[in-house]
């Protein structure tokens, strides 16, 4: 177990500041709208309109409205060819750069699961139905997972190398965690980190085929939970060596103080029921921050509302923490896969900044097998100093990051 002192600086390691952040998700476009949705416990999940869901059990998702997503789209053929995911990353990065216009990253680390998948679908459908392939060069060139990140960097004159992590649903947290370690090691001064994913038919039907998604409301940790709903979005955080940020007078939004990663080799799509994978990720994050579990004030859980995930995560949390408040904000916006960890990092950041507990909506009855202090249905005021955010994914990838309120 980690040390009990509350100084989280490993000997000789640099402290890591978050100096800017941007987000687009079903909760809203930007930090302000996101904060409002969290405080008002809005259910931002609705009927899927992007593709046919005929034949699927689940019919809902957290979607971004195209009219808003594309309203700030630059003119020109190049901009028109971009995938929706590019526009998401552009908007999230644009918001972050509004706070830090001169931020020049040495490296950009972004998580995703499916890149521009819907362009791949368009291409395959046209091929399969022998219909027009006139747009196929656009689909093919804009399908790769790195393209939205490169598009967003180009939109703002950034030319940093991009590492695109595809660790399934843990990707966003892995990206932030790896970026955190890069700065903490002293090898880098400033990085961009985040995640993105856009809804696609293939992925939607895939989760439906596994019966992981639900035809009902998403009820994380509830006794009557029946599964997840998908979502989409993007989030970007600008990370910087804290000393360097202070020297130039940057506004520090929060600190990232720990990161844990684990791989459980139990099954491709199911966690080890013992919760060993999530537990190791959280323990390693605590160890990385050199803090004890009792200083964690809130956990933004992975909380997909599937029977297996919530049971394993609940078991791991209750084994490590003593009645710490827990919520899954996926209940409001759906599970945005590679973006989820990054969006939830920003939700954790907002919780720290504004001193409240984001709600876990659609929660009606506690599961007697999961001993958690769930932040049920409404946001709550709270004194928060340290928060933990979890993400777990297919293939047994587990990731946790710890953030701390910045106190100058």
């Amino acid at each position: 177990m980690a040390k009990s002192n509350d100084t989280n600086e490993k000997r000789g390691a640099a402290r890591v500041a978050v100096v800017a952040a941007g987000v687009v998700s079903p909760l809203g476009f930007g930090l302000s709208e996101t904060l409002d949705s969290l405080r008002e416990a809005r259910d931002c999940v609705n009927g899927v309109t992007r593709f046919s869901v005929t034949g699927c059990r689940c019919k809902t998702a957290g979607q971004l409205p195209d009219e808003r997503l594309l309203e700030r789209r630059c003119n020109g053929a190049h901009a028109r060819r971009r995938h929706r995911a590019s526009h998401m990353v552009i908007q999230a990065l644009g918001e972050a750069l509004t706070q830090e216009p001169q931020f020049k990253p040495e490296l950009t680390v972004v998580g995703t699961t499916s890149g521009g998948m819907s362009y791949g679908e368009d291409y395959f459908r046209s091929l399969n139905r022998n219909s027009s392939l006139r747009r196929s060069p656009t689909w093919i060139a804009n399908y790769p997972a790195q393209k939205p990140v490169i598009d967003a960097q180009e939109a703002f004159g950034i030319s940093a190398p991009c590492q695109v992590i595809a660790n399934a649903c843990a990707s966003g947290t892995n990206a932030i965690g790896h970026a955190f370690e890069c700065v903490r090691s002293g090898r880098y001064q400033r990085l961009l980190a985040g995640g993105y994913d856009a809804l696609s038919e293939l992925v939607f039907v895939g989760f439906d085929s596994l019966r992981a998604s639900t035809p009902e409301k998403c009820r994380p940790f509830d006794r009557d939970r029946t599964g997840m709903v998908l979502g989409e979005g993007a989030a970007v955080l600008a990370l910087e060596n804290l000393d360097a940020a202070r020297v130039r007078g940057a506004r520090v939004l929060a600190e990232i103080i720990g990161y844990g990663i684990s791989t459980d080799n139990f099954h491709m799509t199911q966690p080890d029921p013992s919760g060993i994978g999530p537990r190791q990720a959280m323990e390693r994050a605590l160890g990385s921050a050199n803090i004890s579990a009792d200083v964690v004030d809130y956990i933004n859980a992975h909380g997909t509302a599937t029977a297996f995930n919530d049971a394993a995560e609940g078991k791991a949390i209750s084994a490590l923490f003593d009645r710490v408040p827990v919520s899954s904000t996926k209940s409001m916006m759906g599970h945005s896969l590679g973006a989820a960890g990054a969006i939830e990092a920003i939700i954790s950041l907002l919780a720290l900044q504004h001193q409240f507990l984001p709600p876990n909506i659609n929660f009606h009855a506690a599961d007697e097998d999961i001993d958690l202090n769930v932040v049920a249905n409404e946001a709550q005021s709270a004194v928060l100093r340290t928060v933990l955010s979890n993400s777990f994914g297919f293939g047994g990838t587990n990731a946790s990051i710890l953030m701390r309120k910045f106190e100058a």
Partner: protein
């Protein structure tokens, strides 16, 4: 911090095993192209497949029973790299090994099959067995399970430069002294759907040969397989410097980006360059950049012999560079015109005494990266 290559593994269309494949390249052998057709039988493509015999000796594992062939390639290469280094992970030591996986197109065969069922028969026919194999990190997950790795596992996605990006990530991970090794694996599988996509993108030729650095870029031939290197703190080949490059916005910018990489990496005398030339527009960019920055270095690319394996390509190049430094010899460059303004050789050529090489990876989808290897 200089890291070293402790072990390597290689699965290619010319067979498996680092030494056997290397020997065949030295002999001037070229993989045998196979014809595949699209599902409608309308279009025929040439590809370099991994022969089934190359996987015959690889261990069967329950995790691979339903896995796509890309996962089998990755497992075979990864296990070979560990064995070459004499590393046998147990429950304790496996925690001190990280896994970084490089991939570009991923499990395209199962992805296509899964989505085809949806398109042709409807969502209700989607297979819950296929879907997990469509995710990018499925091969990495299988390999982690086979090796018992319980710590850091990352899958990186990108174009042909992703292999070197993965090595760069491994270098960053290895600053953590709790890690003894980082296994970096690149893998890819080939399918007619990829051939069709690259053809529509005007990057593919329908039949060999692949002509590197030609005046007219006639395109590449896709191939498949895997490469693995085990990065540790000791070994005969040193990873002296990595350059994560960045991205080019337009094809016209490519040469300038490569020049910057070569400039940064050529602070030591460079004896030869393992190029990523594959018969496309990137050949001219690499040719111009090498001419401009290190004109006296020998240049070699294995893509005429092995094809373009995209996600695996960077790892293959690092294996080639390491073997050339160890053996003091470069294989013959196949199908190259005599008038190419670079130091190339149609015959195997001794580079005895060579100390440094640059591995250069330029992808067709905007990413570039490089690294410098040296021999102790």
């Amino acid at each position: 911090m200089n890291l070293a290559i402790a072990g390597m593994g290689w699965i290619t269309p010319l067979g498996s095993g680092v030494d056997p494949v290397w020997e065949r390249l030295l002999q001037g052998e070229e993989a045998r192209a196979e014809k595949i057709t699209d599902q409608f039988g309308d279009q025929c493509y040439s590809v370099f497949h991994v022969p089934e015999s190359a996987l015959a000796s690889s261990a069967a594992h329950p995790r691979l029973r339903r896995a796509s062939v890309i996962s089998r390639f990755a497992a075979a290469a990864g296990v070979e790299a560990l064995e070459a280094a004499g590393v046998k992970p147990d429950s304790q030591s496996a925690q001190r090994i990280a896994l970084v996986f490089a991939i570009s197109n991923g499990g395209v065969i199962y992805t296509k099959r899964f989505y085809r069922d949806i398109v042709e028969t409807g969502a209700q026919s989607a297979s819950p067995l296929l879907f997990p194999e469509t995710v990018f990190n499925a091969p990495a997950s299988h390999l982690a399970a086979i090796l018992g790795i319980t710590g850091a596992t990352y899958t990186l996605v990108g174009d042909s430069a992703v292999g070197l990006m993965a090595i760069k990530m491994a270098e960053d991970l290895m600053t953590n002294e709790a890690l003894d090794y980082c296994l970096v694996v690149g893998a890819e599988e080939v399918d007619w759907l990829l051939c069709d996509a690259y053809r529509r993108w005007r990057l593919l030729r329908l039949a060999p040969p692949v002509e590197p650095f030609a005046r007219i870029d006639r395109g590449m031939i896709l191939s498949e397989g895997a490469g693995a290197i085990l990065i540790g703190r000791d070994g005969p080949i040193i990873i002296e410097a990595t350059q994560a490059g960045g991205h080019y916005r337009t094809r016209a910018e490519t040469e300038g980006k490569i020049k910057q990489i070569l400039y940064d990496l050529s602070q030591a005398k460079i004896d030869f360059v393992i190029s990523s030339a594959n018969g496309t527009f990137i050949d001219k960019a690499e040719c111009g950049a090498v001419q401009g920055i290190i004109p006296n270095a020998f240049v070699y690319t294995a893509k005429p012999a092995l094809g373009e394996s995209v996600g695996a390509a960077g790892l293959w190049q690092v294996i080639l560079g390491s073997q050339a430094l160890r053996c003091g010899e470069l294989p013959p460059l196949l199908h190259a015109e005599a008038t190419i303004p670079l130091r190339i050789s149609p015959l195997r050529i001794p580079v005895a005494g060579a100390r440094h090489t640059i591995v250069l990876s330029c992808g067709v989808n905007q990413q570039v990266a490089g690294l410098r290897l040296s021999i102790r």
